[in-house]
Amino acid sequence: MSLDELLRHPALWRAREPGEAAGRPGLPTGFAALDRCLPGSGWPSRGLVEILADRTGIGELSLLLPVLARLCAGEHEAGWLAWISPPHPPYAPALAACGIDIGRILVVRAPPAEWAMEQALRSGACSAVLGWAACRDRQSLRRLQLAAEQSDCLAVLFRRLRDGTEPSPAVLRIALASGRDGLEVRILKSRGGRAVSVRLGWIGATSPAQAH
């Protein structure tokens, strides 16, 4: 067991590091308005994040692309990006254009998405695990949250909006809605933070062609 592994043990609390409650530094989302609303000024680096949206394509991935690109850019921490049972095949040219390292993407088409997600989280090989799963039973959600808590990895679970009414052990739950003037991010639950709404406008809408 390396020292590093030992230090990651959940029962070990290091005095020099701010604890969970004190606001562990998060992974910057790339959207300043959203960063301001999240406890660690970014996505929690441990623990499950739930993103609830009823539609594929309203910007749920654009919300994550900046942080995924940042995870790839890191020299030392770079692990794999696991995509577990995505609704459609992810399109490599678009991801490459966002600065994501295509060589680090792992796509898994798994009917038991929860199982594959847990494996990916526990393996320690990934720096981000994105899963699309219904997660009907509380048990599997709790297992996922536990695995996410113990791994040093961004864990995102995409679910339906109606699942937001049920309780969940996730560290952060956000609901996405798309209105006339852009994406609205509603924070339903945020450990150590407040439940607020943020309007992000049309994110990911500026194409390189328009920028020129």
Binding site: D4, H76, A78, P93, A94, R109, S123, A125, R180, A205
Partner: protein, 552 residues
């Protein structure tokens, strides 16, 4: 010389006293230097000063083509020689089979020589039996020789196609000297029906050259090499024919002539590699050789009493078997890439499970994890009576050096394990990577890639900068539908309401050469619900609007 992945033999300085430099012109030594008297060096009392630290015994099989085929015959029908019916010649059918590669003594007696056209040979000897060489048998012959050689030393290296090298410095005492060792090895090889040439020198390449030249020397002092190698013809070096011809026009036909040429000029006129080979043959340059590892397998069997019908209990029963396998592997410093497990039943045909690992494993825990996933997917037709575990070919185990803060390395090592676990349960196709293809048609611009451990960051940055040239400037959606979905309506098309075109058109017209050509105008559109879509208007005869992608 050594392929990557094979261990490199540590370079050992060959002698303390510097050997004379052959490039310095000096009067040619009298030929008596290579006479039989010096041969006693090996068996005589060891000279304390200049005996090399390594001694390489080369086994050269001049008739390996014929011998590889004869071995098959002795195994197949028990008869000693296939050629009892008549003289045999070997040709290479894979290369047309027009010229002879080798012939047996009876064919040679009729005036047939290797290199002759087959038709000429048939004219000389109509009753000729013609067989084709089989590279697989030739390799097996070398393996068989190496297996015999393992009785004499643990350090063996193959020199394909017709040589095997043994490092015997440490074995000489045990076998009572070089001559006795050579005699015993020769006996063992002759029992296999082989006719070997043996040569022993401190440099592996020199041993090979002597053996190929047919001069069976036993030299223990590296400083004797330049003199003894001098009369050996240059053909034994197997340098390119053009080089040998060019040298012959200079009057250089033997190794000694070559050594007298100016060092720099030789390296400039011919390949520097040849200069290096000469140095290696003289024992002046290190000559690392890949170690031969015999292809072994581990086969274990266990009877189950009482019979087991439940996969969970079967897994438990297999655990001692796996532990035994891993003990076997660790004792050999080896690992396996695949395993075959046969479950024997009373009536039903046996159940076979094949486990493939993403990387060589030698740890029971990892195999057990994978086995658990496989067994969970397996239906047993009947209770299991016995199990047989058969390992794939053994490969060399590579241990990662431990590091107190090794996060990166741990992550890299965890990837193969994750992939093989997922594949064991979901099937190999369910887990894949992504790969970019420089192609204008959107559906062809990516393919499922292999999962490899990522390249270092610098290489990635370079690859990214190279790719950026091919990257389209227009936006691309994160999700691409496998098959474009037709849309209702025309101007504007509808998808859960009228679509609002935001960007476009981007015309993509390509692929006429492979039958799936594409003529489309792509637009970015937004639905009333705020979903951004990538749609196109078909420019070909059929027309119409299609949905092709979704911006995430």
């Amino acid at each position: 010389m050594a392929p990557p992945g094979q261990p490199r033999v540590p370079d050992v300085p060959l002698s303390d006293t510097p050997a004379p430099d052959p490039s310095v012109r000096r009067p040619p030594r009298p030929q008596t230097a290579s006479g039989g008297g010096r041969r006693r060096d090996a068996d005589g009392p060891a000279v304390a000063t200049a005996v090399a630290r390594e001694l390489w015994l080369a086994v050269h099989l001049p008739h390996y083509l014929l011998e590889s085929l004869q071995m098959r015959a002795t195994i197949a029908d028990g008869s000693a020689m296939p050629g009892e019916a008549g003289p045999v010649v070997v040709v290479d059918f894979a290369r047309g089979g027009k010229t002879l590669c080798d012939c047996d003594p009876r064919a040679a007696a009729s005036g047939i020589v290797p290199g002759m056209a087959l038709n000429s040979a048939l004219a000389l000897e109509p009753g000729l039996r013609v067989v084709s060489r089989e590279p697989r048998r030739e390799r097996a012959l070398l393996d068989a020789v190496a297996a015999v050689a393992q009785e004499f030393t643990p350090r063996i290296s193959l020199a394909p196609p017709d040589g095997v090298l043994l490092e015997v410095r440490g074995s000489l005492r045990l076998f009572g000297g070089a001559r006795s060792l050579c005699d015993r090895l020769r006996e063992r090889l002759q029992a296999l029906g082989l006719d070997p040439r043996l040569a022993l020198t401190p440099a592996p390449l020199a041993s090979l050259w002597f053996a190929r030249a047919g001069s069976e020397v036993a030299l223990r002092r590296p400083d004797a090499l330049p003199v003894r190698l001098a009369p050996v013809p240059l053909t034994v070096t197997r340098w390119p024919a053009r080089t040998l011809q060019a040298l012959a026009t200079l009057g250089v036909r033997a190794v000694g002539d070559c050594l007298r040429l100016p060092r720099d000029g030789f390296a400039r006129r011919f390949e520097p590699r040849l200069r290096l080979e000469l140095d290696r043959a003289l024992g002046r340059a290190p000559d690392p050789r890949a170690n031969f590892i015999a292809a072994e397998r581990c086969v274990l069997r266990r009877d189950l009493e009482p019979e087991i019908a439940d996969t969970g209990r079967l897994r438990q029963a297999l655990e001692p078997l796996l532990a035994e396998l891993c003990t076997y592997l660790q004792g050999r410093g080896a690992a396996v890439e695949s395993l075959e497990l046969r479950l024997l039943h009373r009536e039903a045909p046996e159940t076979r499970l094949r486990l493939r690992f993403a990387a060589p494993v030698a740890v029971a825990g990892r195999i057990a994890l994978l086995l658990q996933e496989r067994l969970a997917r397996t239906d047993l037709p009947e209770p299991v009576r016995a199990v047989r575990l058969r390992s794939g070919a053994l490969v060399e185990a590579r241990e990662e050096a431990g590091d107190l803060f090794a996060r990166d390395r741990r992550r890299a090592a965890a990837v193969p394990q994750l992939v093989e676990r997922l594949r064991a349960r979901l099937g190999a196709e369910a887990v894949h990577g992504l790969c970019l293809v420089p192609e204008h048609r959107p559906e062809a611009a990516q393919k499922n890639g292999n999962l490899l451990v990522p390249a270092p960051a610098s290489a990635r940055a370079q690859a990214n900068s190279e790719e950026s040239g091919a990257r389209p400037l227009a936006p691309r959606p994160v999700w691409l539908l496998a098959v474009p979905q037709p849309l209702e309506g025309d101007d504007p098309p509808r998808y859960e309401g009228p679509l609002e075109l935001e960007d476009g058109p981007e015309r993509i017209e390509s692929g006429w050469w492979d039958g799936s050509d594409v003529r489309r105008d792509y637009y970015v559109a937004r639905t009333p619900a705020g979903v951004r879509l990538w749609i196109f208007r078909e420019r070909r005869a059929a027309g119409g609007w299609f949905l092709h992608g979704v911006f995430g």
